[in-house]
Amino acid sequence: MEDERSFLDICGGPLTLRRRYYSSYCREFGLSSARLSLRSVTAVTCTVWLVAYGLFTLFENSMILSSAIFITILGLLGYLHFVKIDQETLLIIDSLGIQMTSSYASGKESTTFIEMDKVKDVIVNEAIYMQKVIYYLCILLKDPVKPHEISQVVPVFQSTKPRLDCLIEVYRSCQEILARQKATSASP
């Protein structure tokens, strides 16, 4: 079962939430943000090359132009591979764990998997970010030495930053699965 809905992020940009229910105990949420626009790439490239051309007319050194080209290419590749996150996915599987994947614009994927034994709860927390109060979904991890204490808070959807309405959807689904997990682990 799959469905898609559009939401907004905290800056007002468009987001798409894609929910997949694989089974009663396995769900996946994918949040995709807007792709890199041709307009911004062209604008940055033109600025850099104009500045380089200005410096070239001042210093009459052709190294400036070639270095400007290298900088533009390397900068774009670096941005696509290390900075621009296209999609963030949360996969929650009962009695196995929670997996978070970030896919970059160049196709690189970075994954983190947290085992269900370590997960205490999934909550929506609020934070003060510059002049705004924003909400974010986070996973609370248990302290292995003291099981009733929280050792770490892992925020989810850090670069797509959806608003509260989107977070509530994800939160409700996660809580259903966690409740199920707690019920089955409590009973022998």
Binding site: Y25, L96, T112, K118, P144
Partner: protein, 617 residues
């Protein structure tokens, strides 16, 4: 809890049979290690499992049945398999089946309810595929190491996935049977096509024994020589402490003795450490040989010798100039190839001493428009100029021998690039010895002045430093004491700018030299401590160093059990470097910026690498 069945991908196309593996009750998961094919005798299967259990300490048992309907034409096998549940009783009993006509699998797990032994309840099953070879070969690195956790505690307190990895890794003896063995039981696992081995690895293992023995004895001899009492005598021990080359050589000796020690590595970490050290030493020697070939090419040594001879300029020391030119002619008779470069290097060599003299002349005049105290200025300037003259004469005495020294020193590059860099750092320290002396003179003078000033300032205000109580107390002075004290204070205050300026100039020069030496040491440190083998392993075999796992949901059909693919999530590069970095000499300056500025202000001497004396292991 959902029942998780970990199934190896290599057995997905195997014939029907029994599933053999380990049941982990805490996580409600069954790890399937192999499939036993027909025909088999149940007693023999039980014997084999008992043997494996004894050797590997893994509780291996028959977990269920595997039915590959796409290959079997007969339907009757299915019923036969169901009857096996009675022979090999296991709770829960798995039944995995690959249907004909669909890509999807069916899994059922039957629990024996204790109250009614005839009934069995079906449980929800989740199928997780894993690559057996990769899981066997990988080392799992836990995300954080707790400070209060014991080192040997890993197996007991390990998480769920670490258990799975552990199970597969310890069951290696089960994977030794392959289809070419004439054993009673036919198994299917990742090595059933034949045990994986490499001729080179086997040959190296055979040869490494005697080679290690020989090299270990040689290295122990060398270590004994270096540790003998002769080196503890005063001049040698002093030189040994100050030269970074000796430090580096000792470090490398320690590494080599660890690599060629006859003890086998106890844990994967130690093995990686040995491998990293070996690769580091090899790369070091390779870089050193490259440097050597570059130096001996094109008579670069001759050019270097000329660059290092600081010949005085024509105005003050014309005699030295003429004698130096004759030296230069006989040093490099075959310098026709690089002759166009020589005049530039000659000028460079001249300029070093010339610049220093110009600097002193400038200081003796009116530097930056400041008016210096003429007498003190002249005294200090002349003193330093004479020092430079002595230094140049000394260098001149040495100049015929410099090329030969450099040639022999260049040979030491075959011991490694790090040794060559350490020697370069030592040569720089020796050649800028006069700057170090100037710095010490300037700093001592300035320091004395500052202490004098602070003490006399206290006198001026009527206070005194109480040594016993370590604080400032009031004190009543005589009129004579006050008068002389104030006079001295005034003199010192007016002489302060001159001294301060000399101190500033020479401190800056000294800091420049220290920075250059520091960069060289950083480079040496980098070559020493970078774990190249681990980085190479991460690049070429990323599954060997695992930070965790990642799951991918495979094609799903409603009503069918969920199928997941478990892949290994490799360790990121920064964590590889952090976990496996080799211990270096540890010559990092322990001053913070604040304490450094304070020392500079009060004129205390700075020893950037004093900490070498308190080495940690």
């Amino acid at each position: 809890m959902v029942l998780k069945a970990f199934f190896p991908t290599c057995c997905a196309s195997a014939d029907s049979g029994l599933l053999v593996g380990r049941w982990v009750p805490e996580q409600n998961s069954a790890v399937v290690l192999a499939v036993v094919h027909f025909p088999f005798i149940p007693i023999q299967v039980k014997e084999l499992l008992a043997q494996v259990q004894k050797v590997s300490q893994v509780h291996v048992a028959v977990l269920g049945t595997w039915c590959h309907r796409q290959q079997e034409p007969k339907e009757s096998l299915g019923h036969f398999l169901e009857g096996l549940g009675a022979i090999f009783s296991h709770d829960p009993w798995l039944q995995l089946c690959r249907e004909r006509g669909t890509r999807f699998w069916s899994c059922k797990a039957y629990h024996q309810v204790s109250t009614t032994p005839d009934k069995s309840i079906e449980d929800q099953v989740m199928l997780i595929f894993y690559d057996q070879r990769k899981v066997l070969l990988s080392w799992l690195h836990p995300p954080t190491v707790l400070p209060d956790c014991q080192a040997g505690d890993t197996t007991a307190s390990a998480g769920g996935l670490a258990d799975i990895f552990d199970t597969v890794a310890r069951s290696e003896v089960l994977f030794q049977n392959n289809q070419f063995d004439e054993g009673p039981v036919r198994l299917s696992h990742w090595q059933s096509e034949g045990v994986e081995a490499s001729i080179l690895v086997e040959l190296t293992k055979q040869a490494s024994g005697p080679v290690c023995l020989l090299l270990a004895s040689l290295l122990s001899l060398l270590s004994a020589v270096s540790a003998c009492r002769l080196w503890k005598l005063w001049p040698l021990s002093f030189i040994r402490r100050k030269l970074s080359t000796c430090e580096q050589l000792q470090h490398r000796l320690k590494h080599l003795s660890l690599i060629f020690s006859t003890q086998k590595a106890q844990s994967p970490t130690q093995l990686m450490k040995k491998a990293n050290m070996l690769v580091s030493v090899l790369i070091d020697v390779a870089l050193g040989l490259l440097l050597l070939s570059w130096l001996h090419n094109n008579n670069r040594i001759g050019q270097l010798a000329n660059a290092l001879v600081p010949v005085a300029d024509v105005s003050g020391f014309g005699l030295c100039h003429i004698s130096a030119s004759t030296c230069q002619v006989c040093l490099s008779p075959g310098a026709g190839v690089g002759s166009f470069q020589l005049p530039e290097l000659w000028e460079y060599g001249e300029r070093v001493a010339e610049e220093l003299q110009h600097l002193l002349q400038w200081l003796m005049g009116a530097p930056a428009g400041l008016k210096m105290n003429r007498a003190l200025d002249q005294v200090l300037g002349r003193f330093f100029l004479y020092h430079i003259h002595l230094w140049i004469s000394y260098i001149h005495l040495m100049s015929p021998f410099i090329e030969h020294i450099l040639w022999h020193v260049g040979l030491s590059a075959c011991l490694g690039m790090t040794v060559a860099l350490s020697i370069l750092s030592d040569i720089i320290a020796l050649l800028t010895f006069h700057i170090y002396c100037f710095y010490v003179y300037g700093a001592r003078l300035y320091c004395l002045k500052i202490y004098g000033l602070s003490s006399l300032w206290r006198l001026f205000r009527g206070k005194k430093w109480n040594v016993l109580r370590q604080r400032v107390d009031s004190c009543s002075y005589d009129l004579d004491q006050l008068f002389i004290g104030t006079l001295l204070f005034t003199i010192l205050v007016f002489l302060l700018p001159t001294t301060a300026l000399y101190y500033l100039v020479f401190t800056l020069l000294r800091l420049l030299v220290v920075t250059v030496q520091g960069m060289i040491h950083l480079l040496v440190d980098l070559i020493n401590s970078l774990p190249l083998y681990s980085l190479g392993l991460r690049l070429c075999r990323p599954y060997r160093l695992a930070a965790g796992v990642k799951f991918r949901v495979l094609e799903q059909e409603a009503g069918r059990p969920l199928r997941l693919l478990m892949q290994i999530n490799p360790l990121p590069y920064n964590r590889v470097v952090h976990t496996y970095r080799l211990p270096s000499c540890g010559c990092h300056p322990k001053h913070s910026w604040g304490s450094l500025c304070r020392k500079l202000f009060f004129g205390e001497l700075i020893y950037p690498w004093r900490q070498r004396e308190d080495k940690q292991d």
